[in-house]
């Protein structure tokens, strides 16, 4: 029986195992190896030890992309309170149209980021964009949002929030449904209003989901690429203020043909993600309420 199981396990697992080894596990090792090499002008690569990492430490542009990426991440986290408020409103007892709202808020999630970038480029246009036209109605003079170095990063990060809101709402809604109803009844008897109930019951009860979403949002924001690629670009005057570390990885590895340096950047990305996620796990002990 046991041997039989082993045979069947092999039949069922081997195809996926082989694929994962070839296309995912080996590449991690290989990336590490590539990071110790440099591509010569005629193809071929030579071993250069830690030279890429040394160069990386003094690379002002790379540190700039790191700062941009962290700014993106901080702004992305601002989407979570918005998603929480909308989810709380959608959880109102007896509210009509919840399903329709949920679909509407979810629409951006199913839309291709490349198309999303194109749409928002049109909206943000400084001369003929509808956003500036709307701001003009209330007497605010807009700017060329995506090429103004002071605004471009925030304009793009805002789109990132818009894009991710639907996923966060769906998960928060499910979490809120799971909160025991008698907690609210008891609080209502004690005279707690809706806002008070949200702060003292809903939020602590769903804090594991909030933590989970914040981990996902941070990992996603640290890897921002699609929107940057579509909404700015090397010819944009605001590019130095918006280029993310993954965009720099792409530029070095696939445009400028510096695979060794790109591999070193990939490992930096891994270290940053692991460090930030570990930090979040440490901090969660202070605010996540484990039921």
């Amino acid at each position: 029986m046991r041997r039989n199981d082993l045979f069947w396990a092999a039949v069922f697992i081997l195809p996926t195992l082989l694929g994962l080894v070839v296309f995912y596990l080996w590449p991690v090792v290989r990336t590490l190896l590539i990071s110790f090499t440099e591509t010569g002008p005629f193809g071929g690569s030579e071993f250069v030890g830690l030279a890429n990492y040394r160069e990386l430490l003094g690379d002002a542009r790379l540190w700039g992309t790191m700062v941009n990426t962290l700014k993106f991440t901080v702004v992305a986290l601002l989407g979570i309170p918005v998603a929480l408020v909308i989810s709380a409103l959608l959880s109102t007892d007896g509210l009509r149209g919840v399903r329709i709202y949920r679909v509407l808020y979810f629409l951006p999630v199913v839309t291709m980021p490349a198309a999303v970038g194109l749409i928002w480029r049109t909206l943000y246009n400084g001369d003929v964009g509808v956003i500036n036209a709307l701001l003009g109605l209330v007497g605010i003079e807009g700017t060329n949002w995506l090429s103004n170095p002071a605004t471009a990063l925030y304009a793009i990060a805002g789109v990132g929030i818009w894009l991710g809101l639907g996923t966060q709402i769906v998960i928060f809604l499910a979490a809120i449904q799971g909160v025991p109803k008698d907690l609210y009844e008891a609080a209502a008897l004690d005279g707690a209003g809706r806002i008070r109930q949200f702060w003292s019951i809903t939020l602590p009860q769903i804090s594991p989901s909030v933590f989970f979403i914040s981990v996902l949002a941070v990992i996603g924001a640290l890897q921002t690429f699609d929107l940057i690629f579509v909404m700015t670009g090397p010819t944009n005057p605001a590019y130095p203020q918006t280029e993310t570390i993954v965009a720099q990885f792409y530029q070095r590895g696939f445009v400028e043909n510096q695979q060794g340096y790109a591999a070193a950047i990939a490992l930096v990305i891994l270290v940053v993600i692991v460090a930030v996620t570990a930090l979040q796990f440490r901090l969660q002990k202070k605010w996540v309420h484990h039921v």
Binding site: V11, F12, T16, L20, P27, R30, A114, T122, I265
Partner: protein, 284 residues
């Protein structure tokens, strides 16, 4: 009767309180849907109309020909086909491979199972940038650059899909399998005839997520296929940016066409989409 009497005023009171809630939610909906509305309107305007200040909302007469222009600007039909093949290939491949591996991890007892499963999970933790350069080397070494198999093959294997379906199979009762075993069915028969039909909700969740990720994927196809006739729509659309000869109206028409298939699928399979996202979220 008395119950109705006590309920009615409360219901009315609630309804009225909901006005404020609806006001905020509708305002939010406008922000969420407004960009799409503007996209569709722009796709139907003349170029002149897109340049007026202040902008007009509705096109004076809808320019359906903008949608034809998309096909003159890009090999759009070919790209649409490429996106379809890429998506169908990855979805079908993952459903077959991940369901097999997921089932084995859920049900077969063998030495090293925990360790092997841990290895699968470790892939989930690694950001995709660590795979890209070597994946490119492999695909290039196979002579697959600018081919449809380049778009499909690395996406056939998924640690996430295996994990998701394993969780699903673990939650299914064992009784049916035991009965089938007594009837002399082998593992393959039990898997295909009994377990797969039971796992349908899990398979649909994985399929939906894969459709979303494959159709919208940008970086990998951007890296491997630079021949327009082998690009999926995501890369094709992105390639139009910065080309001064391409009008905003054409770009918006292209965006509408590129997003429509997944949008239609979402409208038809709303529940499955939302459950899929919630599932991947709550278990991830």
């Amino acid at each position: 009767m008395s119950e109705l009497a006590t309920r009615l005023p409360r219901g009315k009171r609630l309804r009225r309180n909901h006005l404020g809630v609806h006001a905020i939610l509708i305002l939010g909906s406008v922000v969420m849907v407004g960009p799409f509305f503007w996209e569709v309107m722009t796709s139907l305007k003349t170029l002149g109309e897109t340049l007026t200040v202040p902008p007009t909302v509705l096109p004076a007469s809808p320019q359906w020909s903008n949608y034809g222009d998309v096909f003159d600007t890009l090999p759009f039909g070919q790209m649409f086909w490429n996106s379809t093949i890429q998506t169908v290939g990855r979805v079908v491949g993952q459903l077959v491979l991940c369901s097999m591996a997921g089932y084995a991890f859920a049900r077969f007892e063998f030495r090293g199972r925990g360790l092997l499963f841990g290895l699968f999970l470790s892939v989930l933790m690694v950001p995709s940038q660590l795979f890209l350069l070597p994946q490119y080397e492999i695909v290039s070494g196979l002579g697959w650059l600018n081919s449809l198999q380049a778009l499909i093959v690395p996406g056939l294997f998924s640690a996430f899909g295996t994990f998701l379906l394993r969780q699903f199979f673990v939650s299914l009762p064992r009784e049916l399998e035991e009965a089938a075993k007594l009837d002399g069915a082998n593992h393959w028969q039990i898997f295909t005839r009994i377990m797969l039909p039971l796992a349908k909700p899990g398979l649909i969740a994985l399929a939906v997520l894969d459709v979303l990720w494959s159709w919208n994927d940008l970086m990998w196809p951007l890296v491997v296929n630079n021949d327009p006739s082998k690009m999926p729509l995501s890369v094709g659309l992105a390639s139009l940016i910065g080309q001064f000869s391409v009008d905003t109206t054409t770009l918006m028409a292209g965006s509408v066409l590129a997003t429509l298939p997944v949008l239609i699928l979402f409208v038809v399979l709303q529940k499955q989409f939302i459950q899929g996202i919630a599932f991947s979220g709550s278990k991830g």
